[in-house]
Symmetry: D2
Subunit: 331 residues, 4 copies
């Protein structure tokens, strides 16, 4: 029973179907009919004009989005536990040619204008110190917590006041939007670019970089190719994304994963290290308890010495989820 | 009738089947069972130990392979019409952190020890000039021509004598091997790393970087992640590659594409700009003639003012091929 | 008798004097009074507003100037024998984060709108090919030849028509201006940035990057620091430059070097490989002849198998120059 | 009365003299006789073989030294207040092509094996996290504190145990050595490379990178040129360094600066924020007190809201130093 990662989840049948339907001759790279539909589809979804590029990984999405905002001599401010800082192998340093990440604090891996200011305010405005050019926030955060629209708005206002770009890492943007029960436009707020994740939510290998600054996307098309991310049979990537958007599949899948997490969380409220708002549960769990759970067939990651991380997926089986909830309650 | 690009070709049914079979929970990234099988599978295929990484594009494969050989202050020598020079948007400069490409001549986009020496010999051995660290050759070349084993051997001997690494861009390695009728080990010769292409030959979005210098692959695993190319559902990439190797599918597909090209070439021997040895035909063709062909439903690229490029695929339809051969003969 | 390089020449006494005068406490980096005078001094010299940064080498000057015009995914078009291509160890690739140099032809290492167009016109306007963002020309050229104002104007018009920046490598800008007998503004024409060289012309270790696009200099101040080129005792660099400009010392020194070269050239008109317009002489000279010259005490570089490069300096001794002219005539 | 920065200090007369003596024709770059003497001179000074490169700034020295140890996908561990982190404009990110700095704690800006381990131990040994490749320590530290030989030895042992390179930023290595009263070899310990600073200690614009890993220097000679730091009249840089070493001038100058700092520190023991071991004094000082000092003619930097930084130089005037000591005591 798999609670290790939503990356381990299956590809949704509708995605398979769309990919197979795309298996007809069409122009290579992103000149195919499906890729050409992305801009309009996302513009309709968000209710404002955007330009959209597919890439195969969240790391590529995040870094190419940030490349539109940050020069090599600049910096990005993000939470000190953000994925771009902790788990992308220094990819921002590669894509941004040595730009720095400046690390802010905040509960549950969410930053606030105050924690951002605490990083930015001490920076002298001279050439000896690296100047920030963008902020990157994660929706939902590394601890599965969701920025409320007013929280995003406050950060966006802060970014604008400081002349900084704003990027949202939305590897689990579906889960965040599902939790908020609002429109995707409200969940994204006034960000300049969004890494809209699909792989963890039923896709196979396609994420969307949504540029609300349409002009910025022009340059990033060159950068994407230059990074080896312009796949020649791009129609299969566009097909995945369009299938995920079709009929709100992305939201439905996210709701299913969130519901599974909520059921598990409800069984052990006293153990929760963070509010469970998306599809991740971080809870206290001793080594002995973890062993006991694994003995019952549950797979998951340790989280330090006395905790565990459980991740639910769109395809979580009810029986597995209930079994895990019971097992946890019975510890 | 599509003769524009082998990137426009379909995904082979066996590849689809393997991908769908991979749609069961497994470890993310390249920790899944399929990805873990790659090293042994390729080692058996080539009859010597190798370490293999999947990536989604030939550009990523070429550049990550070269990153194992060339420091930022070094250079790669390649043909002046090589894909890495002409059509990868400067990706080598990105992945190699500003290393240079030094451009050699040679008929049909194939280099020789002589043309390589003509580039390398004048370089002063001082810190003011960029020093070569590797050679990159393309099998089959940009003009669809194939290095004979003895030609690769001569280049490999030259590389070794000069202390240079040797990389082979094998975007159409299958076509080259099929043409030569030899083993893949013979077609690759003593290269240090091979970009083994599958996308143009029936795959969807997975190429293999084959490191015969096994130790070099260790570093490149970090570089792959750092470039956003370590896909989280990597099992689907490994599945494609294993399916292509299974039962020699890659060779069968390549033979089909080559045969189609040969049929077309045979119809217009006087027009050929280069020997047709793989699945590409470059021929003289006036603007009027191209118009006439397109009017009959044939799609292809112009190649300068008075020539055309025709590319055949593994799934080329016999009727289309014969029709094109007739149409060309009738011009 | 030294004709190897103008880098071997002495530092002018007026430069020494200015440096010693600068040896009083002042603010570090470029906050000292001398550095703060550069913008106004050069603006007066060129009759239009400019922003000026000192750096210690022509390589740094060229690359930081280009960094203001060319993004990492772009390219610079220059002559294939330009210093940035041949003798700067790949520095443009480093400072421009992997941007390419595209190589144009032209007699005596001078490009023309036609030779530039021959490089640029074939580039497809798509993301697969690296797009040019700037042109770099060398005044005087690597072969000591000088662009006439109308030649620079034609190139500047071409650059503007193509939307490209224009940089001038003026390592020997003094020699070029002296030859032309025009104002520095006329010798530079409508370039966006000029690397104004002083080291070869009587300075010690300070060159000026003159940005006629004043805003561009703002970013490059960060880039300079980031490249380790913001020296902490910058007052000594500014002092050198101001001393060179004071009373037209730079022009006087250049005239002296040019005159020496002209005297030598006049002795062997039939041997000259390029017009002698600045302080470099390239002439046919067999190995035996070179040996004979060296036996007489003349030091210089070979230039390939049957030629030699002779460089004169601001401090060339009349007797040495005359002796060399006689020796050459007597070969 | 200048206590702002040792960068504001004068150039020592012996350095001037050596520079002027170098003003005779010699080979350009580092092929001159003086530059060629550096390796042997430093090898004798340290009692072990080393290879030495001059550069114009501490930033360039630090980054080129680290470039010998850290690949683009790696990291350097340093104190969170280290100069390379705080005041070099992101230069390590530039020279190391995006490698990260990982930040350790420690009193008075000195790290220990324990604080280093606290950073390194949590790093997972997988491709998702950036792996450390080197440690950089500062002798004396940013707060003017000196590593004892046994402290360096402990860090070197830690580095060796973890397979990490060890770099020492010795911008004030002279002051540290003078304080310790030991040999330079003991003050440097078993580091792999040392940035040996002279500019703050009586030089003009030359620092030495001392590679105890002699082979590593070979590559860095290319990197130096590529960074625009191979000055063409390098003889003037070598001259400065040799003059500073001649007769122990570097130690004498450092002792003078240290003595001045000690005199000032002795006047206000209760205000000191850090032990005064080199030539920097950090002390509590309210805004009103700072104003009072400035009214008496003392120039220095604020250090946050309620502190000040005072820096003494080799050429500090006794009267100024005593006056400052009195003024501080009288606050």
């Amino acid at each position: 029973m798999q609670f290790t990662s939503d990356n381990a989840a299956a590809v949704h049948p509708a995605v398979w179907k769309a990919m197979m339907a795309a298996d007809a001759p069409d122009a290579p790279y992103d000149n195919d009919a499906l890729s050409q539909r992305l801009d309009a589809t996302f513009s309709a979804l968000f209710g404002r004009e955007c330009a959209v590029l597919w890439v195969a990984s969240g790391t590529a999405a995040n870094c190419l989005a940030l490349a539109a905002m940050v020069p090599p001599h600049g910096a990005v401010v993000c939470h000190r536990e953000a994925h771009i800082e902790m788990d992308e192998a220094g990819a921002p340093g590669f894509f941004l040619h040595g730009a720095k990440l400046l690390l802010a604090d905040g509960a549950s891996a969410k930053v606030t204008p105050e924690t951002l200011a605490a990083v930015i305010d001490p920076i002298r405005d001279d050439v000896h110190q690296v100047q920030p050019h963008a902020i990157s926030i994660t929706q939902a955060s590394e601890y599965g917590c969701v920025y409320r629209p007013e929280e995003v708005a406050a950060i966006a206002a802060f970014a604008q006041a400081r002349g900084l770009g704003l990027h949202m890492d939305g590897a689990r943007f579906g889960n965040a939007t599902a939790y908020l029960g609002c429109s995707p436009a409200e969940a994204a707020g006034a960000v300049d670019a969004l890494s809209f994740g699909f792989v963890k939510n039923g896709g196979m290998g396609a994420e969307a970089i949504v540029f609300f600054d349409v002009e910025a996307a022009r340059t990033i098309r060159y950068r994407r190719k230059r990074a080896g991310h312009l796949q020649s049979k791009g129609r299969f990537m566009a097909a995945q994304i369009l299938a995920m958007l079709e009929g709100g599949l992305w939201l439905g899948n996210a709701r299913a994963a969130n519901a599974a997490a909520a059921e598990i969380a409800a069984a052990v409220p006293g153990r929760l290290l963070h509010p469970v708002e998306a599809n991740e549960i971080f809870l206290t769990c001793t080594a002995a308890e973890r062993e006991a759970l694994r003995a019952q067939g549950f797979a998951f990651y340790n989280w330090g010495a006395d905790a565990a991380r459980l991740v639910t997926s769109w395809d979580a089986k009810d029986a597995h989820v209930s079994a895990l909830a019971r097992a946890l309650a019975g510890l």
